[in-house]
Amino acid sequence: MSAQLPPSPTQTFQAYLQQGELWLQWCGRCAKQIFFPRTLCPHCGSRSLDWRRSSGQGTVYSTTTVRQRPERGGDYNVAIIELTEGARMLSRVEGIATHDIRIGMGVDAAIVQQGETRLVVFRPRQPQS
């Protein structure tokens, strides 16, 4: 049975992150973008899911500052990002003070190394020069 199974959705997602790229699933039937990676579309139930590279562009849907003592690392951000392609993911916004992050702010994905894993974070969108 295992021989018939392709790499799992999580393995595929992580493999792209290892290459420094954000790829997500899109449903081949209802065309919606999907996060987190799954074996079937949570919108229509289809198993026909395609991996595509995401633009990584999104906006802050909501944000909070988790307060933490400085000696433990200080305050940090937790945010929900809505990708322009539709899916939402929990993440954090970096490159800006957490108290300055606003709902509706434009952000772009970046892939960072955290310990042994690669992680998707977001940074404020830089104005086009």
Binding site: M1, S2, L5, P7, S8, P9, T10, Q11, F35, F36, R38, T39, L40, C41, P42, H43, C44, G45, R47, Y61, S62, T63, T64, T65, V66, R67, Y76, V78, A79, I80, R88, M89, L90, S91, R92, H99, I103, G104, Q114, T117, L119
Partner: protein, 381 residues
């Protein structure tokens, strides 16, 4: 007592299997997804038609929420009874009863595990979220509060007025844990935990236990105390993790409430006292709106008007709530007990005069699942 007649009432119409043997890299949820998809195809049923979910596993403390979120369904009947390996056999009985009663039309019973190839993980560490170190449950409720403030202009002062109302009720309840005077300024000045929720926007952490007994109505008539009747009850769910909640300003109470009211043949105007699961101040605002006690976005004003405090037109959390009375991890039983005491007329100084109807609203997970019950005295039957 006769057994309910379920003979011939339900049938099995589809089956699916996945990952039999070895499925390296696949989570138990991935495998459930594949098996469910196969069973649906076999049955010729669409995923969206599944409105009853019966599931349990050893990885998830809240299995029906986790599995439903993965599948993308919002079942109106969700049974996660876990008694070990027999659970799914047991689930067939509850599925049949639910189908027979018309509570659901398509029941899904499912299970999956990667016990051979998977890494043992602590139960319920959300795999795509744990790395961001959310401080659950507070950070999820903070994200909902921030969104509500952004969309509706709700203020921290309005959130604080919920905590102040709860404290004023607690001062009338000798059993309440926190009874010292509390002002809006006190709440605003308390230590910030996850913006915009500060320490006094959060429930107590206490010990405590509660229990209730129910019998059939005809037996209850002969009981020592005036019976309090269950007039309606419904549960609805939307997600497990907050990032998957369709709209952070609208909870599934917007669906559980109308169903419970319809069963009770009542509307919000008929409710004399409400017990709303107040793990955080934002909960009360969300539930007042979603249950129809005020328009969407208007609960902040309702709370600051004094309506939910002692002497107000809609007494809420009359024991002092999870914010000021008691909150030992899971609070739901205490909502029921306070409603029953109010309807029996034995609530002492905090008694709402003439209370003959009560709404009890429970919340589970991270605003994930909402259960509304409507209780009434014999006069309301």
């Amino acid at each position: 007592m006769t057994e309910p007649s379920i003979r011939g009432a339900a049938a099995f119409v589809g089956t699916g299997l996945a990952g039999i043997g070895l499925a390296p890299g696949y989570s138990h949820l991935d495998l459930i997804g594949l098996a469910v998809q196969e069973a649906l195809e076999d049955a010729g049923v669409k995923l969206a038609e599944v409105d009853g979910l019966f599931t349990a596993n050893m990885a998830n403390i809240l299995p029906t929420l986790v599995v439903a979120e993965y599948l993308g369904i919002q079942p109106r009947v969700a049974v996660g009874t876990n008694t070990g390996g027999n659970s799914f056999v047991d689930h067939t009985l509850w599925a049949a009863l639910a189908l027979q009663a018309g509570l659901c039309k398509v029941a899904l019973i499912c299970y999956g595990s990667n016990q051979r190839t998977g890494k043992p993980t602590p139960p319920d560490a959300p795999p795509f979220e744990a790395a961001y170190n959310p401080r659950e449950p507070i950070s999820s409720y903070a994200l909902a509060a921030a969104r509500h403030m952004h969309v509706y202009g709700t203020t921290r002062e309005q959130l604080a007025s919920v905590a102040v109302a709860a404290r004023r009720w607690a001062q009338l309840n000798p059993l309440a844990f926190a009874r010292e005077p509390l002002t809006v300024a006190d709440v605003l000045a308390s230590r910030m935990i996850c913006d915009p929720l500060s320490l006094l926007d959060c429930c107590l952490v206490t010990d405590g236990a509660g229990a209730v007994i129910m019998t059939r109505a005809e037996r209850a008539r002969d009981a020592r105390r005036s019976p309090v009747y269950l007039l309606g009850c419904a549960s609805e769910q939307t997600h497990r993790q907050i990032s998957q909640m369709p709209d952070l300003t609208v909870t599934a109470a917007a669906r559980s409430g109308p169903r419970a009211f319809a069963m009770a043949r009542m509307t919000p105007k008929d409710i004399r006292v409400a017990q709303l699961y107040d793990a955080f101040t934002i909960n009360v605002l969300l539930f007042l709106e979603d249950l129809g006690f005020c328009a969407k976005g208007a609960a902040g004003e309702l709370a600051t008007s004094g309506a939910i405090a002692p002497g107000g037109s809609l007494p809420v959390n009359t024991n002092g709530g999870g914010l000021s009375c008691v909150h030992p991890g899971m609070y739901g039983i205490f909502l029921l007990i306070e409603a029953i005491e109010q309807l029996r007329g034995v609530a002492g100084e905090r008694q709402v005069q003439g209370a003959d109807t009560a709404l009890v609203h429970g919340n589970g997970g991270l605003l994930s699942i909402q259960s509304t019950a409507i209780l009434g005295t014999a006069a309301t039957l």
